[in-house]
């Protein structure tokens, strides 16, 4: 029994990605959901499962199911989780469909991440302590030192990578500028029309060294959604299916910690090192077969860690690999073709899956990867827990 090729993503939808939607998260979720249903050529009533995730800032499946007027929900899941579940929700939907729990599962993420609760702000700290997404330890041992923002926690990991492997600021900046370049061909991107050079990057203010402001992802109001159904049904729908070859959500040892984990044995490596063997085995492919990758880029450094740990280059070689153009649209493994979280928008990683589906359909326009047949979308910054899916057309 394997998940491979049993299901497919058949519809995608999104709202505009903005700094101030002026709308409720509920309204954003509904717009993206209806767009995904229409894109698939399905009827709303066909949806019988819903999955979402968030840190207290998405809208519950019961609200969206009600707004959609669904007569019956056969399966749902609301994950209290960060971006390391962005691929896991797709895997969950595929598991639900493959096991007969539901026929058409709507996966979505909606948030007012710019105009509502900002990650790293007071409301965020309060939410984390209230919901125990973190343990009580972060509030006791990090926050009183001033470590309250994701950028600071990931900065500690990035610095460790720099210590061990000599990763440079210019290499981080190259990740950021390549994402920005890709966003110029993506009208959906918040940074569309705002190109950035490496000098622009280096001249920008520090947030938490080694991160400058453009090492950090955007804050975004918006929503995106996708629909997973069985492979057979997928063939009769409006759009070419993106088949789910593999999906893994997993972790390495001592993975306690949503961001900085004080117990990990190696802060210069990521979850990817621990899940990649299962992932590739399920898909029946290896890194050399992957035509493009949407690597979860909450921070520029996250791309470097994942390039190494998914085997796109040797451990410690992520920086030089990026610098040599390895992740450009015409490089060895095009990465974050729509601009990623750094330049398209922060829909908490699910927008990477949506971008991947568009690429596999050949809808990438000026950012289309030629001959894209198999792609990966990942979830997890550089921490030891996260996941990924591999899709094919």
């Amino acid at each position: 029994m394997t998940l491979r090729d049993k299901t497919a993503i058949v519809g995608i939808g999104m709202t505009d990605y903005t700094r101030n939607s002026g709308r409720t998260v509920e309204a954003l979720a509904l717009e993206a959901a209806k767009a995904a249903v229409a894109d698939a050529g399905l009827k709303t009533a066909d949806i019988d499962g819903l999955v979402t995730y968030g840190l207290g800032d998405t809208i519950s499946t019961n609200v969206l199911a009600t707004d959609l007027g669904l007569a019956r929900v056969r399966h749902y899941a609301d994950y209290n989780a960060g971006g390391n579940m962005a691929a896991g929700v797709v895997t969950h939907a595929a598991m639900a469909v493959a096991s007969g729990m539901a026929d058409c599962v709507l996966v979505y993420r909606a948030l007012n991440g710019a105009s509502g609760m900002r990650y790293g702000g007071e409301a965020f700290a309060e939410m984390l302590s209230r919901t125990s997404v973190h343990s009580d330890a972060e509030g006791q041992f990090l926050a009183p030192l001033g470590i309250t923002m994701p950028a600071q926690e990931f900065a500690l990991m990035c610095q460790r990578h720099m210590i061990r492997y000599g990763t440079t600021h210019e290499q981080l900046g190259t990740v950021a500028t390549i994402c920005r370049e890709n966003a110029q061909a993506n009208p959906q991107a918040q940074m569309h029309g705002r190109p950035m050079s490496l000098d622009d990057y280096l001249d920008a203010p520090w947030i938490a060294e080694p991160f400058r402001i453009y090492d950090c992802c955007l804050m975004t109001d918006g929503a995106c959604a996708l629909i997973v159904t069985g492979a057979e049904r997928a063939r009769d729908l409006a759009r070419a299916p993106a088949y789910v070859m593999a999906g893994v959500t997993g972790a390495g040892p001592a993975n306690r910690g949503l961001m900085w984990g004080n117990y990990w044995d190696d802060h210069a490596s990521s979850y990817a090192a621990h899940i990649k063997d299962d992932l590739y085995a399920m898909a029946g492919v290896g890194p050399a077969d992957i035509d493009l990758a949407q690597l979860y880029d909450c921070f520029s450094y996250s791309v470097i860690a994942q390039l190494e740990d998914y085997g796109f280059c040797a451990k410690g070689e992520g920086g030089p690999f990026v610098e040599a153009g390895g992740i450009r649209l015409d490089g060895e493994i095009p990465v974050n073709t729509g601009g990623g979280l750094l330049s398209e928008g922060y829909i908490h990683g699910l927008n990477g899956v949506v971008e991947l589906v568009g690429q596999l359909r050949g809808d990438g326009g000026g950012r289309q990867v030629a001959g894209a047949e198999i792609g990966m979308a990942t979830a997890g910054g550089a921490s030891p827990n996260g996941g990924a899916v591999i899709l094919r057309n």
């Binding site: 330890a137 006791q140 923002m149 460790r160």
Partner: protein, 145 residues
């Protein structure tokens, strides 16, 4: 205007012995009954062997810098008033090599090095709470600026 204060740690039943030690300038850590590893943060089970038995032990507050960040922008006004400042995560020189984050004192960001030897200090927050800090090893108190 009164300077805003940083977040005050809220000790728990699990962590209270650490804070009791910090108040009197002593570093106290859990030591696993199963494998002998010390650990931090305080936790219910040992992340190295899974054993749930432990006792609290006073250990030397000496370690080496594992990683750090220089914070130059903070959302919390209490910390924005302090920027730039450095938080160092230090690998302690005890069995299990646990990591312990603390504010780096008496060391300019450009002087900080990986694997630099540092000693712990506890800076009083109020009568009950003192926060762990790090100083370059071997520098006498009176020489600090």
């Amino acid at each position: 205007m009164e300077t805003p204060r940083p977040i005050r740690p809220k000790p728990t039943a699990m962590s209270q012995p650490f804070w009791d030690g910090a108040r009197v300038g002593e570093l106290r850590l859990q030591c696993c009954s199963g494998c002998g590893a010390h650990r931090f943060y305080p936790s219910a089970g040992c992340h190295k062997c899974g054993d749930d038995g432990y006792d609290w032990r006073a250990v030397p507050g000496r370690g080496h810098v594992y990683t750090w960040t220089v914070i130059r922008r903070a959302l919390d006004p209490a910390f924005q008033a302090r920027v730039p400042f450095t938080v160092a995560v230090v690998a302690l020189d005890v069995a299990g090599r646990p990591l312990l984050p603390g504010t780096m004192l008496d060391c300019a960001p450009e002087d900080l090095r990986a694997d630099m030897a540092v000693d712990i200090a506890f800076e009083p927050y109020d009568d009950d709470i003192s926060l762990p800090c790090w100083r370059p090893a071997g520098e006498p108190e009176e020489e600090k600026t």
